[in-house]
């Protein structure tokens, strides 16, 4: 008897999913646990594993299609069996579905392809088998942002139990209850602002939760490098002047950050080990560079993602970045535009900060922190002290994924790209 597999609900807030990619074709034999394809939710891109062994009879939707939870996506049954008619007809092609409103909890959602704990597929196959996870282990995994179903279970029958999750993640001690923050009121009766508690919105809650989780569960290490920014500044000025002459007042104006994004994508191409994520029991390599960058807002911070930055020109990256920044400021970013990053760039140079180290945007393996380009006395090639322009780059790395030498190679590649910037133009 053929079974129709529907778009699963993979997270609490998921209402639609995008069938990003199919790994199977019609007529192909599939076994329990095979990865049929990938589904992007509001929070993550997740693998769709096979829960019904048999032959793929029919694929109802093309890759790239966004469709609601519960919509039929494929049918599996015996070879030659009649293809079942789904109750609800599937969309014929990628339709323009209105993006769901940004759930409050996905303010800075750059949630990983895999780690999504309890939101793993829960459909039970007709033979009753599925990944067994104890209730307590499932809850632990959710806290640790691990996909419990992907861990190797050591309990009876391969059940994932607490010790398996504990081995895969060092859990932070859960802070509970309000923190005592009593301080005496201002003695002059005025102070700089009124005493009192501010309500915390979803974005701030998410920042608090995710960054605490990152800082206490990811073993951060930090490297710093100074870059001679003079050639980059000169080139940027020259390009912007030429663009203004050629394109008039609507001309694209490249920011320093655009160059850094482009150079980061190039450096990741050269040192792809940094373009990876810790996946609990393995390291997941990512083929594409999806670059996220921090955008400060009045009430917080979001990190939109430039997709496939490895394949984009400087102009494309700059155009994407500007569009995303504009959407971020008008709160129009969709969850998809904030998820699935592989590397993050954060920049406080515009505030004159000379250098700093950001907290890793899990599940990235590293975050690049960009300081201001400052005039400094430097020693030139002829051992003379001259006025130079220096930019300090900080890299925070996840030591589970990369070691100091790998991170150093990445910074070396990045420095070279920024100091000899013309190569970015090809």
């Amino acid at each position: 008897m053929a079974e129709i597999i529907d778009m699963p609900k993979l997270s609490d807030t998921m209402s639609v999913g995008t069938l990003v990619k199919w790994n199977v074709k019609e007529g192909q034999e599939v076994a329990f646990g095979d990865i049929l394809g990938e589904v992007e939710t509001d929070k993550a891109t997740m693998e769709l594993s096979c829960t019904v062994p048999g032959t793929v009879l029919k694929i109802y939707v093309a890759a790239g299609t966004q469709l609601p939870v519960g919509a039929p996506i494929l049918a599996v049954g015996k070879k030659g069996e009649k293809v079942p008619e789904p109750d609800a007809p599937a969309p014929k092609e990628a339709p323009k579905v209105t993006a769901p409103p940004i759930p409050e909890t996905t303010g800075i959602a750059c949630v990983p392809p895999a780690p999504a704990g309890g939101s793993a597929p829960v459909r039970t196959a007709s033979d009753g088998s599925r990944a067994k996870v104890s209730p307590y282990a499932r809850r632990m995994a959710e806290k640790a942002a691990l996909n419990a179903a992907s861990l190797a279970g050591t309990g009876p029958g391969g059940r994932v139990v607490a010790r398996d999750v504990a081995a895969a993640a060092v859990l932070p001690a859960a802070p509970s209850g309000p923190v005592n923050v009593t301080v005496p009121p201002p003695s002059d009766g005025k102070g700089v602002q009124p005493d009192g508690d501010l309500a915390v919105g979803g974005m701030r809650q998410t920042i608090a939760r995710r960054l605490l989780e990152s800082k206490v569960t990811v073993p951060h290490f930090y490297l710093e490098v100074d870059v001679d920014a003079a050639p980059l500044m000169a080139m940027r000025e020259s390009i912007n002047r030429r663009l203004a002459e050629a394109e008039g007042k609507d001309a694209l104006k490249l920011s320093v950050n655009d160059f850094i994004l482009k150079a980061s994508a190039e450096a990741l191409r050269q040192v792809p080990a940094v373009n990876c994520s810790w996946a609990g029991t393995s390291i997941r390599q990512h083929g594409a560079v999806h670059l996220s960058f921090g955008v400060a807002l009045d009430d917080g911070l979001v990190t939109p993602v430039i997709r496939d930055a490895h394949a984009k020109s400087l102009r494309e990256i700059a155009t994407d970045a500007k569009a995303l920044i504009s959407k971020a400021r008008s709160k129009k970013l969709t969850p998809a535009e904030m998820s699935g990053s592989t590397f993050t760039v954060t920049n406080l140079g515009m505030f004159g900060v000379s250098g700093f180290f950001g907290i890793i945007n899990v599940p990235n393996a590293a975050i690049l922190s960009v300081g201001a380009t400052l005039k400094k006395p430097v020693v030139d090639a002829h051992d003379r002290i001259v006025v130079g322009q220096r930019m300090t780059l900080g890299l925070s790395g996840d030591h589970r994924v990369i070691d100091g030498a790998t991170a150093a190679q990445f910074l070396q590649a990045l420095k070279k790209s920024l100091e000899e910037p013309t190569a970015m133009l090809i």
Binding site: S134, P135, Y136, A137, R139, G155, R159, V161, A162
Partner: protein, 325 residues
């Protein structure tokens, strides 16, 4: 602190309450002149006289009914059943009359009766003398049931039972009568409905009551010394009212649970405890809840088989290791 036996602790409780409150009386088969079938009431006739310590005819339905009637008029009778197995011939009195009178009188009539006696197997006395009816009786609203495991709890629970204004049924154990333990001389009570962590541990919670607590503590020693497992043993003490929070707190600590009781498993006390845990602490469980109960058969007369029928440390250890797998 004085050391005394479980039997002496029960007797001390009754003696103290007989002295404290003239409305307290003891009644039962051979409690007076014969000093009790198991010598629990030894010496009390001599001290308090035949108006306070009364021998009854061999008719459970009759003398339990007598006690219930007296309790409705303000007397606080402590009735001895030679075996709780004999309660079955007085079930109408024990359940229908004692258990319902406060409800059916709209709260006008209390029934402050205590019925006590041994309720256990393991003594080679056969199927009709080895019942453990705590689950049966506790299933009736209006009835309180306690199962002391130690001399300290035996005295404290007995005193709390005598002072309670509702029917309280105290299930003792003949095998525990000679067990010794420290018992304060002061006037203390163990409140009804308060469980006790008899041993603290981190890896596994064993919930037990009555003699199964003692068996579980022995098993916990073996699990610690031979398997390096840290076991917490929670003694329910009261079956009803039930201290749910102490059980749940332990589950939240260890995340793995073994339930041990000397009842038969079907509709046993631990069926209720298992339901409680899964309904209120499902997300705390790292393994399914297991049970060790008496083997589900009429009480076996052959002594060697009966020793295996009732939970023993070896069976508890074996099942604990399954929960810990």
């Amino acid at each position: 602190m004085p050391v005394m036996s479980y039997r002496e602790a029960l007797r001390a409780a009754m003696r103290e309450e007989l002295r404290r409150d003239e409305k307290v009386v003891l009644m039962g088969e051979e409690v007076a002149q014969f000093n009790g079938a198991y010598k629990v009431t030894e010496g009390l006739l001599k001290e308090f006289g035949p108006k306070r310590v009364v021998d009854t005819p061999i008719s459970e339905a009759g003398f339990i009914g007598l006690g219930i009637g007296a309790s409705m008029l303000g007397i606080r009778p402590v009735m001895e059943l030679m075996f709780w197995s004999f309660s079955y011939v007085a079930l109408d009195q024990i359940v229908n009359n004692a258990g319902n009178i406060r409800y059916m009188s709209g709260g006008l009539i209390n029934c402050p009766i205590v019925i006590r006696g041994p309720a256990n197997g393991g003594t080679n006395v056969g199927a009709t003398h080895s019942h453990t009816p705590e689950a049966v009786l506790a299933s009736h609203p209006g009835i309180k049931v306690v199962c002391p495991a130690t001399p300290y709890d035996a005295k404290g629970l007995m005193k709390a039972a005598i002072r309670d204004n509702d029917p309280v049924y105290v299930m003792e154990n003949t095998i525990l009568y000679n067990d010794k333990g420290e018992v304060p001389e002061d006037d203390y009570v163990v409140p009804l409905g308060v469980a006790d962590v008899k041993r603290a541990g981190d890896d596994l919670t064993i919930v037990a009551h009555g003699r199964a607590v003692i068996t579980s503590l022995k098993a916990a020693e073996i699990l610690e010394s031979e398997h390096g497992v840290s076991v917490e043993v929670v003694d329910l003490r009261s079956i009803r009212p039930l201290d749910e929070e102490t059980v749940l707190a332990s589950v939240r600590k260890t995340h793995r649970v073994l339930l041990v009781e000397e009842n038969k498993p079907f509709c046993g006390v631990d069926a209720q405890i298992a339901y409680l845990i899964q309904s209120r602490a499902f997300d705390e469980l790292d393994a399914p809840i297991h049970r060790v109960s008496s083997v589900d058969a009429p009480q076996i007369y052959c002594k060697r088989l009966e020793d295996q029928q009732i939970p023993n440390p070896a069976r508890v250890v074996a099942e604990a290791l399954k929960v810990l797998a």
